[in-house]
Symmetry: D2
Subunit: 266 residues, 4 copies
């Protein structure tokens, strides 16, 4: 989920409601507020809580909430809050800013997992923060039963296959790059956490077609998903996702710096 | 300044006081709390304010406060708070996590500079966050008189020279890498913002010797600063800075994950 | 194909013959001498010609010859030589050493394609030399009918999909990374150019099973190919490929620096 | 030295003579044919020998010859040839194309140094080929007295300082980046191997002024060298160096692909 903004750069809850209804309509399995496409680092802790609360109160879909922060105190606070309001799962990437080795990343997750029982997806997105190695994921998974899977947005299929080798009935591996979903399903991925759902149903159709009609799924990937991803990829991430959503829904949306309006045609 | 921690990973104000007194004793010109060595992203907004306030109340040295956050709301809040309590200047790097182009970085600074009058140092540290180009610094400097300089920790001397070309009476360029201070002074740098000051006076002596005794300054660089930086550089940043400080002062200090204790000898 | 070496680091033609017979036995479609696994840059022009000639004279399999060099004169000489001795196709990566933009790469291929009629595969391997963009491949393909396809060893599936979008009856797209062959076939790849063939038939079985028994192919990938690639990947490339081949065939093989013997168990 | 080319992309010896006379006129200490600016990888072994021979026969200046190749046989041949014709020293970077660890690089140099007595400069240029660590340089220096120094073109001052720590009466450390020469001299560099000498005497004047008039040297760096380097840096390397030389001397010069003409104004 993007985090819709008004002309002043504040969260726009009317627009958020439109987004929630759209996502329910195209039949996603989970809502994922405050992820990277939701530009979570651009908001205060209070804004993040308010947004999670609004999504919870306005949808019956299961929710996985982005709880990322380099500060373990903030992560703990967001996890407890999310659990209290009935959110089903949390999604957490390694800390950002300071470059970290795997030992540091392990200490971070261990501390958080030791003080929270909430189901957690580990989020690997090395473009934006420190990479978590499959080996570290494996160790955390073996020590904490609340670690329920991984969302891998690395776009590195070799690394993704290593994550997939950890899959079992209690451990899911999700692809975070829309244009790699078909390939990932072929290799055994549990599903996708995909940003184009904010304004397009192609990726959901691909996912649902896949089981019965592999050829059709591949066709959707090639004809719908890849061209859309290429188009979005020409702009500073994730500004085009917002503009696309605003334009499609005739919303007078805005941007909070460092975000800015880009000229994508829909 | 590191942010000294106790055995539970909370800020240790007794230790902070020891640190302040040491820095005053070796005669630094400014205190710089909540920078990268101070692991500012590992703290909550409240912890950051409390720490800034403590430093302000316990030293008469001028202070430049790290106010970094990807959230402009948090930056604005930290700047207003800092100004209110009498802190002299703020230090701000570009937003982290999402990879940004220069246009995005410009929008971010512009928004913040438009709503704050506090003197600001721009902080370039591309190892940890998006790089700010000298061209963007130049544009911001020409539009906002509150932009008083840049702290460059890139370790890229060619880029540093480009920053130096912006120097004038109202614009200072500081070197953020201790082992490059001598070279930077030769090229015209205004000074350094140097992490080894937390437990060693070599870099301050180098700076003061430089004007009168260039050879002595070079000797300190080669014999004291570079070997110390190499030793510290063997460990996950900035854990060794903390351990060094704890050991030197016989403090039973601690770590907040992702930080952890490393075995440096002092 | 590796380029088998004797204890003095010279090409070992007896061992080469053993290799040719093995490759024929496991039923590869083409032989590919003097590629990256064949460490072509470690040989003189004369050694390269001699090796190509030996392979040509000792096998009736179609051959694609690595003709890479940053010097267009050397490439032209190798292509003419290869064509004269009846080699079916050439494989050529962009020039290495000096970092090049796409315009430079285009000029290089254009010059070579204008003076040679031999069928050519473009070789994308950005780990080792300048990357060639799908757009540049597309331009070369549209101008020169002798451009018959691309070998992509980038391990970047997103880029590979872009290459695949150029596929047609006269343009083949090959995967150069063994552990990505299954995935690539799913996406429509024409086949693979795979280094583990030097001592293992898994990847060939995978390829042949794929058309009739996709599940079996996936099983081979997971049980045979990926574990083998991981094992090989622990050593300085491509030393372990050589040692594996030597040990398997009880050959007293050697290395030419910068190659050296590694301790892989087979 | 660039390698001047005629309109057909062949070496232009008349132009080479003009270049030699110019370099003698501005009083460089050494000629350095077949380095990176000389695009040595774009030539055949015979062309490289012919060029070295021509330079030797047409100048009494000491010469250091670029003998780089990933093939140790080619390096050995070039070194023996150079020694035979009276060239004073060889310059050699680590092998390119295949990514190598330090052990591989060590094996390569060791093999070459064991079979040649010629004085050698190790050439570090990680932008174009595998990086050689100061530690590896140190080991080679301690084992082979023919290792007389290092040319470092990395533009990494921290690494350069590590190379400088190896300096002694028998081991020189040269800066390969013109705009970093002043800084490097300050730190104790032996001198520079600088590409702008092909058409400009600024860097030579800087070097000669440095000993007596440090301020003048710094002025030349800021007013002449840095602006020239910035201008050249806007184009695909090293095309602008060639065009500049051609234009300045009214030579109808050419390019061998992947080189091409760029529109620099002189």
């Amino acid at each position: 989920m993007i985090t819709p903004l008004d002309a002043h750069g504040n969260i726009d809850y009317n627009a958020t409601n439109i987004l929630i209804k759209y996502l329910e309509g195209i039949n996603v399995d989970y809502l994922f507020p405050m992820g990277s496409t939701g530009v979570f680092p651009y908001f205060t802790l209070k804004e993040r809580k308010d947004f999670l609360k609004f999504v919870r109160e306005n949808s019956k879909k299961p929710i996985m909430a982005g709880v990322g922060s380099s500060s373990i105190n903030e992560v703990n606070e967001l996890m407890k809050f999310s659990m209290d309001i009935g959110i089903e799962a949390a999604v957490l990437m390694p800390p950002y800013y300071i470059k970290l080795n795997q030992e540091a990343i392990y200490h971070y997750y261990k501390e958080i997992l030791s003080s929270n029982d909430m189901d957690l997806l580990i989020y690997n997105i090395p473009q934006f923060t420190n990479k978590i190695d499959p080996e570290t994921v494996k160790n955390l998974k073996s020590e904490f039963s609340s670690v329920k899977g991984v969302k891998d947005s690395s776009a590195d299929i070799r690394g993704f296959m290593e994550m997939l080798s950890l899959s079992d009935d209690d451990f899911a591996v999700f692809q975070g790059q829309d244009d790699l979903l078909f390939t990932s399903l072929e290799l055994g991925a549990s599903g996708g956490v995909c940003g184009t759902t904010n304004f397009s149903d192609g990726i959901v159709r691909l996912y649902h077609e896949y089981k019965n009609n592999r050829e059709m799924a591949l066709k959707i990937e090639k004809n719908d998903v890849i061209p859309l991803m290429k188009k979005l990829g020409k702009y500073q991430f994730p500004n085009a996702y917002y503009e696309y959503f605003y334009k499609k829904n005739n919303i007078n949306g805005g941007y909070r710096p460092p975000m800015y309006r880009v000229g994508i045609e829909i």
